[in-house]
């Protein structure tokens, strides 16, 4: 088939493909023009082109900032804890949903579990503060009513971490079940029937049938999550965090916001952003490599 007739035949497909391509070039590659700010003494009013080159000076400054290392440590810490707590949550939830036999009840519970995903963090933050405040919080009000001492959910390291992690689970676990449930729909029902004939208990069926069938999904998602270790959303740590726990809640994204947008030191903020991107890339390639070695399946 000649090239011309090939294009004539498939041009619709290429036209469709061009849309995401345009998106990537405009929103993903276009902004990379701004990366050079990291190597310039950026002046707000002269623009990127007009500012002077300063080489790696800004990098030196950032790597000398103690705050930067705190933010970096916190990013890893919060992401790692999130992986421990928030990663298994949707798996457990999906299995529980899968085991529910009543279709009506299953649908209702799924919808209810999805809803928090659509609530903005700003609103969740408001709810969390109303619930967990020391003096005015509802939970501590109940504790006090029972004669127990109040728990500083928001202002002390340990309790704050728990609050942070579990609001994350509450917000995202329901939504996270979707992929697992999709994987589970493909499991052959006959396997369960056979297991029942052999006298397997419900736990045994989950352990020997359900879990192995979603194993590839779990592994893939785990790799994805590992790759994101160094990047962290802005909303959650910014909103759930506060001055009292700043030492643990200040992460790279909030650090960039404070240094860049609040103090107007765009060069330093860009350096941190670039650093984050490079480390993120290393992580993703690394976990992909490990996965290829271990399972023979990579994602790139």
């Amino acid at each position: 088939m000649s090239k011309v007739s090939y294009l004539k035949r498939y041009w619709q497909l290429y036209a469709l493909l061009s849309l995401p391509m345009i998106y990537f070039f405009i929103f993903r590659y276009g902004p990379m023009y701004g990366v050079q700010i990291a190597f310039k003494d950026f002046n707000l009013f002269q623009g990127i082109g007009g500012s002077e080159w300063i080489g790696f000076d800004a990098f030196r400054e950032v790597f000398n900032l103690r705050e930067f290392y705190t933010a970096l440590r916190n990013t890893f810490m919060l992401n790692f804890l999130d992986l421990l707590v928030s990663f298994p949550a949707p798996i457990i939830l999906a299995i529980m949903l899968y085991e529910i036999k009543g279709v009506w009840f299953k649908k209702i519970s799924q919808t209810i579990l999805y809803i928090p995903h659509f609530i903005s963090w700003v609103i969740i933050g408001g709810i969390v503060y109303q619930l967990f405040g020391n003096q005015s919080g509802m939970v501590n009000g109940v504790l006090e009513g029972l004669g127990l001492s109040p728990i500083p959910f928001l202002t002390e390291k340990g309790p704050w971490l728990v609050t942070y992690l579990f609001t994350g689970v509450w917000q995202s676990a329901g939504w996270g079940t979707i992929l697992y449930l999709a994987a589970l729909t493909g499991v052959n029902r006959e396997l369960f029937e056979a297991a029942e004939v052999d006298g397997a208990t419900r736990m045994k069926k989950i352990w020997y049938i359900t879990l192995p069938s979603i194993k590839p999904t779990i592994v893939t998602l785990l790799i994805l999550n590992l790759g994101k270790m160094v990047s962290i959303g802005f909303d959650r740590p910014y909103i759930i965090g506060n001055t009292a726990v700043r030492e643990y809640s200040d992460v790279l994204s909030t650090f960039v916001y404070r240094v860049g947008l609040e103090s107007g030191q765009y060069t330093l903020a860009t350096v941190v952003g670039l650093f984050q991107a490079v480390v993120g890339l290393v992580f993703i390639l690394g976990s992909n490599y490990i996965s290829k070695k271990m399972t023979g399946n990579g994602i790139i």
Partner: protein, 534 residues
């Protein structure tokens, strides 16, 4: 089979994820791209050729617009258009900026260069210096001479000098009517119930707070808050100023984050620590940066004593009105309790500088002339009175040359002025000449029923005040480290207050070491050097 299909989907999802990782962090770098525009900025004659032009003016949005008004279309914006815009062939467009994110938003606007309003402003001198330093502001000196005679007369040389750097008029500072800043308040009915006198020193205050806590005169149980506290200047500055030693008579370093550089700062933190650990202040003050919680607690009658911006409680339907309606028999008195042992036990508190906000015209603006004309219009005739007090006969009556709010003013008329103070940017408060008259005018803007407590509040706010030093040249460490140190100051206060008393010294030393290493040292050196040069 399905599992495989799933993996394919995942592979694609991963691609998106990967580029998201790369792209997201690079967004930080997506700033302005508008080089070279600056060349044609600054000057402006284009508006005079008969073509209708648009003048964009920043306005603070506090999210409190009463229907049917909106922040960009209300009684005052219509008045501006009618009285200034139409006669001059100018469309005045207001650009709302959220009050609490003012500096952040302004940074973004300035970087965009094309979207930036022709008139912007900030209270933060560091922000003004930074823009000036980077050459982003129009020198309005000549334009002011030509188009702003009323404005110059209104502001006066002294106020204007706050906006000059190296002889260039890079900003037009607003004029502040009243420099009194803070007063403190106490629940008189609680004192009466316990048979206690009004506290007049810091020590007496402590005893009183203890009594509020132990004897619980309000019968509130765990809701009882002897002293209302928030992580906001009106609450902590008052406390800190009553411990620190001003560096130069009744003047001291003006920036909030320069408080830790004062002798006596540690004592202030120690006192705060004691109050917190003995349960005398709001337990959640560290979460309350915008005073929302404090406001609620005040309205509900949970708080015994607190400091606030002077007059803040006396607005119609403000704290006083709500509290008196909510709690029967409640009574608030203005008190001057904090005494400063470092300054002969005087009631040291901060006052404002005589300038208000820094009004700036970005260099990229092509409407500098119109901008000055607008400010000049505001300063002429009785336009400021209109912005602050509304329409004579409908909102106010003139008494001895001062507009006094009509006692029975309808909600419709009162709502017109919901953001009068934010629109009249050249004047912080009502300027009528001298402080006393200004103060009287200000008080007359409040409901008549609160006149007495307002007069007491102002007397207190003007007692033993300490003002900011104005250096002859900008302190370079301020724009550089200001925001970081301001954040750190909040951390110092929260951490030292919430530390166990026996750990206070260690926590304080550690936090101060951090403060100094984050730029505090450079700031201190520069300030001390500048102080010697004065």
């Amino acid at each position: 089979m399905t599992v495989n299909a799933n993996q394919k989907v995942l592979k694609k999802a991963l691609g998106v994820g990967l580029s998201a990782v790369m792209g997201m962090s690079l967004l930080a770098g997506c700033g302005s791209d508008s080089n070279g525009n600056t060349a044609n900025g600054g000057s402006a004659v284009e508006g005079d050729n008969g073509k209708r032009v648009t003048l964009k003016v920043e306005v603070f949005d506090r999210g409190n617009s009463p229907a049917p008004h909106t922040i960009t279309n209300n009684f005052l914006t219509q008045m501006v258009q009618e009285r200034f815009g139409d006669p001059n062939n100018i469309d005045v467009e207001f650009v709302p900026v959220q009050r609490s994110e003012e500096v952040t938003k302004l940074n973004v606007l300035m970087a965009s260069n094309t979207d930036v309003p022709d008139i912007v402003f900030t209270y933060d001198s560091s922000v003004f210096y930074r823009y000036a330093q980077q050459g982003g502001l129009t020198d309005v000196g000549a334009i002011l001479d030509e188009h702003g005679p009323n404005l110059k007369k209104f502001l006066g040389e002294e106020t204007l000098s706050y906006g000059q750097i190296d002889g260039k008029q890079l900003s037009i500072p607003g004029k502040r009517a009243v420099t009194g800043r803070y007063s403190s308040y106490i629940r008189q009915d609680w004192l009466d119930k316990l048979g206690l006198p009004v506290p007049t020193t810091t020590d007496e205050l402590y005893t009183t707070l203890k009594a509020f806590k132990d004897k619980d005169p309000g019968g509130l149980g765990s809701k009882n808050i002897p002293m209302g506290m928030a992580l906001a200047p009106a609450q902590f500055e008052t406390l800190i100023y009553s411990f620190i030693k001003p560096v130069k008579g009744d003047l001291t370093y003006g920036q909030r984050y320069e408080l830790p550089l004062h002798e006596g700062f540690k004592d202030a933190m120690q006192f705060l620590n004691k109050l917190y650990n003995e349960g005398l202040i709001s337990k959640d003050f560290s979460l309350d940066e915008d005073k929302t919680q404090l406001g609620k607690d005040l309205n509900n009658g949970y708080v015994g004593y607190w400091s606030d911006d002077v007059g803040n409680l006396a607005y119609a339907d403000g704290t006083l009105d709500v509290l008196y309606a909510n709690v029967e028999g409640s009574k608030i008195s203005a008190v001057d309790t904090y005494t400063n042992a470092n300054v002969d036990n005087k009631h040291i508190k901060s006052r404002y500088a005589s300038n208000g906000m820094y009004i700036m015209i970005p260099k990229s603006s092509k409407r500098a002339v119109e901008a000055v004309k607008y400010l000049d219009w505001m300063a002429s005739d009785d336009n400021l009175v209109l912005m602050y007090s509304g329409v004579e006969g409908e909102n106010y009556d003139l008494v001895d040359g001062i507009p006094v709010v009509k006692p029975d003013v309808s909600k419709e008329f009162a709502d017109r002025l919901f953001n009068g103070g934010d629109m009249a940017i050249i004047s912080n408060g009502k300027n009528f000449g001298d402080q006393e008259l200004n103060q009287k005018a200000w008080i007359s803007g409040f409901p008549e029923r609160h006149k007495e407590i307002l007069e007491q509040s102002y007397a207190i706010a003007n007692t033993d005040t300490v003002g900011p030093i104005v250096f002859s040249k900008p302190i370079e460490a301020e724009p550089k480290y200001g925001t970081t140190l301001n954040d750190k100051l909040a951390v110092i206060m929260v951490k030292t207050a919430m530390a166990k008393p026996e750990q206070f010294d260690a926590v304080y030393e550690q936090e101060m070491k951090d403060f100094m290493s984050l730029g505090g040292t450079q700031l201190k050196e520069e300030l001390e050097a500048a102080l010697k040069d004065l």
